[in-house]
Symmetry: C2
Subunit: 336 residues, 2 copies
């Protein structure tokens, strides 16, 4: 891609290393909870769940809970169980997403639905989702339960909304942002917010962590949507152009469609509507480049990233804050 | 079917009328909660959910919560919201079940997955499931949340276990009873138990209502499994023989297989294993009759029904108890 690089911290290549190092000890405990609580006498459950849970995920959401807990100087151990609950909710949505999209590849491996079939993926997703609530109930905070049950409803609404928008080229940027705020950013926001809840911090701290997570989540999704059209998709373990084949109208397409000539718009309309022929991915990426749609999608991701970082303004400088800031920088620069 | 009728209350045809009349006013309030809380700005959600929720279900589980609340003389209004949560959990599992089984017909109407597709059914199920937890969080009882989150995990385990047992003729009666205890009876038990929780009754009352619901649930499922092979299936809005076509090993088949000649056992093995040909349903029902498998499935249902009624022993006689007893009688006699 030709988009210009404007790193927030010029000269350094941002990475997840700071957050990974910050939460390493805690994450081991979260992983122990995950491993213990995905067990079942029904052997297919840990087998299928383990395929995805052990399958190279970054544990981004639990890491955010842990890093935010460090930011607010939380000294207890409740965040281990709750971070595991967040990861279970996330894993359940991934299992169902792959069924919904008929995906065959995730993180470079065959998806669970390809190996064990859609029925098993649906039901094991339901199990993990229920287990997430059991973990929250064990923690015993109604406030946390409220935050995560609300996030779960919003995620499902976002997913249905995306399904409704599928193959509809008339999806606007605002509608698209609503969809990704719901399907992706709601869980990022909740994962961060609950750290302030367990630390019994004031509402302002909760709201600030929520805003950090929400804006980071939007930035993350925008970059993912750009990556789907870039050669980096292959290195991320996905197929390039899956969104186009699925008729998903993401921001790059929305911008390219808005800016295109009448011929270009006909191309997009037909590519998104689908039909007998495989869409012309080369032409699509050419148009995304020519119209600046990819570059501007990443520019918008940068904007949301800035808002995420600004949301941390009131928290004291230190290792946790630096790690959370660099996580944003990593999120918005990984596609460049 | 030729099984002999042995009604618990000779001379009367048991019906759901007593429980329906007992809870009518409360059920209106539950229905109002259901209608209000299945709404979403995403139009497909109430459309799809409404198809199933308004589609002629008996509201058996919410009625049980309400009737059990009457039995323990509960005077508040918390059970309305919680009964709606129970119905949402049930509806979510039905939506996912129909995807898992590829069902086309439920209660005589086309299934949601046939009308709106599997992806929509999976995601709207997720929404209703999340919404159920939001309702419980609003109620605010961690005890209720624990009971229903545990029941949800157990249901999912039961569903996966059934999936694993599918097309396996070597499924034994004990294993089968474990499966239906989990996938069906756990929610019946929880629906009844939470009535004692909101009424702040002692643990013994909770356990008794749990036992009532659990045994009733098992009886219900056993009768359903028998009905699947009877001409009554059509009147229930299902296709006769769906379980056999799906390779589901239910108690009638387990008993007929255990009692069959070597030729019969070969027939069952091949019918359950599936293959190119449609299974010979006429031969299957002949064998189920000849071996007494259907009659004995219903006899076992009667046994669990007796246990359900006995579990109510310590509660005072009255309209609520009579209604709960007759609900059991209805459950076990509707196939005769």
């Amino acid at each position: 891609m030709t988009a210009t690089v404007h790193p927030l911290r010029p000269g350094a290549a941002p990475s997840l290393d700071p957050i990974v190092q910050l939460v390493a000890a805690d994450l081991n405990k979260v992983n122990a909870v995950i491993l213990e609580r995905m067990q079942s006498e029904v052997a297919l459950i840990p087998e299928l769940a383990g395929h995805l849970i052990a399958g190279g995920g970054k544990r981004m959401r639990p890491m955010l809970t842990l890093a935010c807990a460090a930011l607010v100087d939380y000294q207890g151990a409740r965040h281990h169980r709750l971070a595991a609950a967040v990861e279970f909710i996330h894993t359940a949505t991934l299992l169902h997403d792959d069924v919904v999209d008929g995906s065959g590849l995730r993180r470079g491996r065959r998806t669970a639905n390809m190996i064990w079939g859609n029925p098993a993926s649906v039901l094991v997703g339901d199990f993990l989702f229920s287990r997430a609530f059991e973990l929250m109930v064990e923690d015993g905070s109604l406030k946390v339960l409220k935050i995560l049950s609300r996030a779960s409803s919003v995620i499902a609404e976002g997913e249905v909304s995306q399904l409704t928008a599928q193959r509809r080229i008339d999806t606007g940027e605002d509608h698209y942002l609503e969809i990704i705020s719901a399907k992706t950013a709601a869980l990022f926001a909740a994962a961060c917010r609950i750290a302030a809840v367990v630390a019994e911090r004031e509402e302002e701290a909760e709201a600030a962590l929520d805003a950090y997570g929400r804006n980071l989540g939007i930035a993350f999704q925008l970059v993912d949507d750009a990556i789907d059209y870039s050669s980096d998709a292959a290195t991320m373990g996905k197929r390039v152009g899956d969104d186009l084949r699925d008729g998903k109208v993401t921001l790059p397409v929305i911008l390219a469609y808005a800016r295109g000539s009448e011929t270009d718009r006909t191309f997009w309309r037909e590519a998104i509507a689908g039909g007998a022929a495989e869409p012309d991915l080369a032409r699509a990426t050419d148009l995304l480049e020519e119209t600046g749609a990819l570059a501007d999608t990443l520019e918008r991701a940068r904007l949301f990233g800035r808002r995420a970082i600004d949301a941390l303004g009131a928290f004291p400088a230190g290792r946790a804050k630096a790690a959370l800031v660099e996580t944003v920088e990593f999120a918005i620069q990984r596609a460049y």
